[in-house]
């Protein structure tokens, strides 16, 4: 069937609980209703971030064993279904050098940029998702998309640097409208245009290939073999570029759902629990249909104000007010709130992993970067902020590891992430967090 955009729009404008034109876009399926077969085309790797405020409880989340087959600790239990697709990092340190240690800021800013911020609420450089988007989002409709499950558009930790952050869509409806409302472009339509830069680069590679004959003159057999390898590498690069000239095929089996309608979006935990997976689902659909390749989701601000209805203090105040239980050695109510964050992360991973795509899922073809702002919120410590990765970046990242950082700078994770995303980068970070040392044991 031919689907007209008008059909979609009409459904939207007729009321908040919009009855969609069709719940299922057949044009994404072949005649048998099967997902489009994987064309063997190189799938783009997608990047997501997940921000949660106030960290976790060290004694309850850090596994004692490092490496593969680490034990599932009580606070990581909600993530157990995805353990084999994740990496967790403990003991990573933020070094602020001569800068102040801004509470609820220096930690997360350092993780996102590799640089200790000189001013509160500001980033001293582009954040990692933007650096990655610069490279991987060529030609997509949105360079990146952000959403905030707390309902505050300022709760976005994606920035081009300075005090400005990119605005987050503060409700599922707003996110839906952005992605699948007016301007939604069916990638299988004929007027899709490739990036003109790609064609120019092709000519350059072609010229390099042309050097082959002259260069191979007078080479010994051993050197000939080596140069064969070089020119084969050039050819591979040419093929990759050629692929980028073809319009992307959607190999994910997806159905665009009905518009979500309005709903309360605030800090009450039941609402956060409803909104988060819904935003994650929409974000995942956006990634699957190549609306964007970078999706940022925050469930709170750094000093998370999430509260359980009936709890007059809420998460942030509890982290400061609750005494440490002498027998347990930690703050019990805070520990409960910590687990909620992990449950919310699990609900996001469920959405990403729930989209089959080619021989795997969207999660497999992605890298999700989850992190927080403090390691011990009670005292604003930044030593050991929980950081997790999910997805294997189309096979470029090994998974299933617990990396015990031992005081290594948090920038090592960001560097590893960029390399796994295929960025040509040798170092990242500034000051004491400047590093050239990625976790090569994780890079496939």
């Amino acid at each position: 069937m031919t689907l007209h955009r008008r059909t979609l729009l009409r459904g939207m404008f007729q009321g908040s609980a919009a009855a969609m034109g069709v719940p299922f876009l057949d044009c994404f399926l072949d005649s048998k209703g099967q997902a489009l077969a994987a064309t063997g085309q190189h799938l783009p790797t997608r990047f997501s971030t997940f921000f949660f405020g106030l960290g976790l409880t060290t004694s309850l989340w850090v596994p004692k064993k490092a490496g593969l087959d680490y034990e599932t600790t009580s606070q990581l239990k909600p993530l157990e279904p995805f353990k084999s697709k994740m990496n967790v990092f403990s003991g990573m340190r933020v070094m602020v050098d001569d800068n102040p240690n801004f509470q609820h800021w220096s930690g997360n800013a350092a993780i996102a940029t590799g640089i200790a911020p000189t001013k509160a609420s500001q980033f001293d450089s582009k954040t990692i998702d933007q650096t990655i988007a610069d490279v991987i989002s060529r030609g997509t409709r949105f360079k990146s998309v952000a959403a905030a499950a707390s309902g505050d558009p300022k709760h976005c930790y994606s920035s081009l640097g300075g005090a400005n952050t990119l605005p987050a869509d503060p409700s599922p409806m707003a996110l839906y409208t952005r992605l699948f409302g007016p301007g939604f472009q069916d990638p299988s339509k004929a007027d899709w245009k490739p990036d003109p830069q790609v064609m120019l680069q092709q000519s350059v590679l072609s010229a390099v290939s042309d050097e082959r004959k002259d260069f191979m003159k007078n080479l010994g057999a051993g050197d000939k073999t080596r140069m064969d390898q070089y020119f084969t590498s050039v050819r591979e690069a040419e093929l990759q570029l050629a692929a980028e000239l073809k319009r992307p095929e959607i190999v994910a089996k997806v159905a665009i759902p009905a518009a979500p309608g309005e709903m309360p979006v605030n800090y009450a935990l039941p609402n956060v629990r409803t909104v988060t997976p819904l935003m994650a689902k929409l974000g995942a659909l956006a990634l699957a249909t190549d609306q964007t390749r970078v999706f940022n989701l925050a469930i709170s601000e750094p000093g998370s104000n999430i509260f359980v209805p009936g709890d007059p203090l809420g998460y942030h105040i509890t982290t400061h007010m609750e005494a440490i239980d002498q027998n347990l050695g930690y703050q019990p109510r805070v520990a409960k709130y910590n687990v909620y964050s992990m449950e919310l992360l699990a609900s996001v991973l469920k959405e990403l992993d729930g989209i089959p795509e080619g021989d795997g899922t969207l999660l497999d073809h992605s890298l999700l970067f989850a992190y927080s702002d403090q390691s011990y919120a009670k005292i604003h410590a930044v030593d050991g902020i929980p950081i997790m990765l999910a997805g294997n970046a189309n096979g470029r990242l090994k998974t299933g590891y617990h990396i015990a950082g031992g005081g290594a700078p948090v920038s090592r994770v960001g560097l590893t992430v960029q390399k796994a995303m295929g960025l040509s980068v040798d170092g990242w970070g500034k000051g004491s967090m400047e590093t050239k040392n990625a976790y090569t044991e994780l890079l496939a």
Binding site: P196, G222, S233, G406, D426, N437
Partner: protein, 538 residues
């Protein structure tokens, strides 16, 4: 010192792809060489950001592998992106005033004359030889086509330049051999310039060296000496020698070093780069600034430390700058670079010292005596058991060194390491181990010495050390396996070295001006592709 060069005179410019020439070696640029070359050709403010493929150590040198490694798809992708990034910067509005010497007739149309000037100029510097007219025409055409597609003259220059920077002619040092009379072959002039420049300055030949090559100066004794002396006198010699010593002293081993955080929490992220830098500063200071006796590298107590190293050495740091000169007192047990944190920690386990690893490494690095790998079925449990009656590492090593199959290698390599047992695995000093006094004595082939200074003196007095240094420098310069170099190949260089009282500059001069330096094998190498053979793991 008089060196008589016997060489054939040949016309410059017609050299390339002459029928009787062959490619003597094809060496992939190392990361540092790539960066230095780009910085020298385009200026230091051009950012080079990218991933470089790893190298491997062969015959004790990473430089040797440049002659056998190629470029993988991931590596080429990185080179391609870097080339584009560099070219974009060079032709952007900020830089083009300085780096593009001509102005196009129109900003949005091809201008072959200006493109030719630009691409010819940088082509010469990048390829380390003039482009042939066909090569230049191809690039000018490419640039013109790109200008037409994009409507921007400078975009055309960008793509043309990017092509040059990812070309194998830049990425690989192609050394051409031409007949030299009889069955002998020697490097052609531009290849001579390249070999000299990367040895001395670790970078592409500068304009003056290229000019000397073109004029045939490098084929005359006087002309060659003039350039060699110029290169030796320059402060840029430090860059070249840093690269050489980083390689010879195996300082890249640090990339794989980790220490047990519970036993040695002092070892943090800053330690490895600091230790590396200390050793380089000490070596360069002796070799080039003091122009000293290179044997003193084994005995000098002078070094340079920063705040992190001061904590391992347990001394006061003066905070005068990031680095301060420091001289160990005579009773410190320290002696030369063999007792610096770098040597002691690189060749050692995460949680405890390893006389065997240290011994094997030092024998290989300084005496050119590599140790074979252990047999497959060795039982390491005795050596690693600290709870048994054998309290020190030494005792446990000795316990199995009496076994004939083990003894042959262990008596070869362990003694050096045993004399260093006064230092733990992160290079800190210790007198006792598990409550027992440490015995620092060692015997090699009848010579007995003890502790760091004893080892230092042993190495200082051992003629194998300066010979090994000369051998490694020769192998590094030529990209050949140091274990396969014939002693006669560097005989002249070595004599210059010893006659001068073991001065580094004399070794370099003697090497560069010796007939062997530019000589190459006669036949084209054939048989199987040279893959890196089994590498001795240290």
């Amino acid at each position: 010192m008089a060196v008589i060069l016997v060489c054939a005179v040949f016309g410059v410019g017609s050299v390339w792809a002459a029928d009787n020439s062959h490619v003597a070696s094809l060496r992939r640029l190392s990361e540092q060489e790539y960066r230095n070359s780009i910085a020298d050709i385009f200026g230091k403010d051009i950012a080079v950001q990218g991933m470089f493929e790893p190298q491997v150590r062969m015959g004790g040198l990473v430089a040797t592998s440049t002659a056998v490694l190629s470029v993988t798809p991931a590596g080429f992708e990185s080179f391609s992106k870097m080339a584009d990034s560099i070219a974009t910067q060079v032709t952007d509005e900020k830089h083009r005033g300085k780096l593009v010497s001509c102005n196009p007739k129109a900003a949005n149309a091809p201008d072959d004359a200006c493109a030719s000037e630009f691409l010819g100029h940088y082509g010469l510097l990048l390829f380390r030889r003039p482009l042939t007219s066909a090569e230049l025409r191809a690039r000018v055409n490419l640039a013109g086509a790109m200008t037409k597609s994009s409507g921007d003259f400078y975009a055309g220059l960008r793509y043309g330049l990017a092509e040059l920077i990812q070309s194998p002619n830049f990425l690989f040092r192609k050394e051409m051999a031409v007949p030299a009379g009889g069955k002998a072959y020697t490097l052609d002039p531009f290849s001579r310039a390249t070999r000299l420049s990367y040895l001395m300055w670790d970078t592409a030949p500068d304009a003056e060296l290229l000019k000397a090559a073109e004029a045939g100066d490098l084929n005359t004794a006087a002309g060659l000496e003039k350039q060699v002396d110029r290169l030796l006198a320059s402060p840029r010699l430090e860059t070249g020698m840093r690269a050489f010593f980083t390689d010879m002293l195996e300082l890249d081993t640090f990339d794989n070093v980790s220490k047990d955080a519970l036993i040695y929490p002092k070892w943090g992220g800053a330690m490895a780069p600091s230790a590396k830098e200390e050793t380089l500063r000490t070596t360069i200071n002796l070799a080039l600034r003091e122009n000293g006796d290179m044997r003193d590298l084994m005995t000098t107590r002078k070094t340079f430390i920063n705040r992190s190293l001061a904590a391992i050495y347990d001394v006061d740091f003066s905070f005068g700058g990031d680095w301060m000169p420091y001289e160990f007192p005579a009773d410190s047990g320290r002696s030369g670079i063999v007792t610096q944190v770098s040597t002691l920690s690189m060749f050692s386990h995460p949680g405890q010292s390893s006389p065997t690893k240290r011994g094997v490494a030092l024998m290989d690095i300084f005496l050119c005596e590599p140790t074979p790998t252990p047999p497959a079925n060795v039982d390491f449990s005795v050596i690693n058991d600290t709870s048994g009656p054998l309290k020190t590492v030494r005792e446990r090593l000795m316990a199995h060194a009496t076994t004939p199959t083990c003894a042959s290698c262990h008596t070869h390599s362990d003694p050096i390491g045993l004399s260093l047992e006064g230092f733990n695995t992160i290079g800190g000093r210790r007198l006792t181990e598990n409550g027992q006094l440490i015995d620092l004595s060692a015997t090699i082939k009848g010579t007995t010495f003890r502790d760091g200074p004893g080892l230092g003196k042993y190495l200082h007095d051992n003629p194998k050390y300066p010979a090994c240094l000369a051998r490694k420098l020769y192998a590094y310069a030529k990209g050949v396996d140091s274990e396969e170099v014939d002693a006669t190949a560097f005989k002249a260089a070595y004599k210059n070295f010893t006659d001068s009282g073991y001065r580094m500059r004399a070794l370099l001069k003697g090497l560069a001006e010796s007939p062997e330096f530019f000589s190459t094998p006669a036949a084209i190498q054939d048989a199987s592709a040279e893959q890196p053979t089994k590498l001795a793991s240290h």
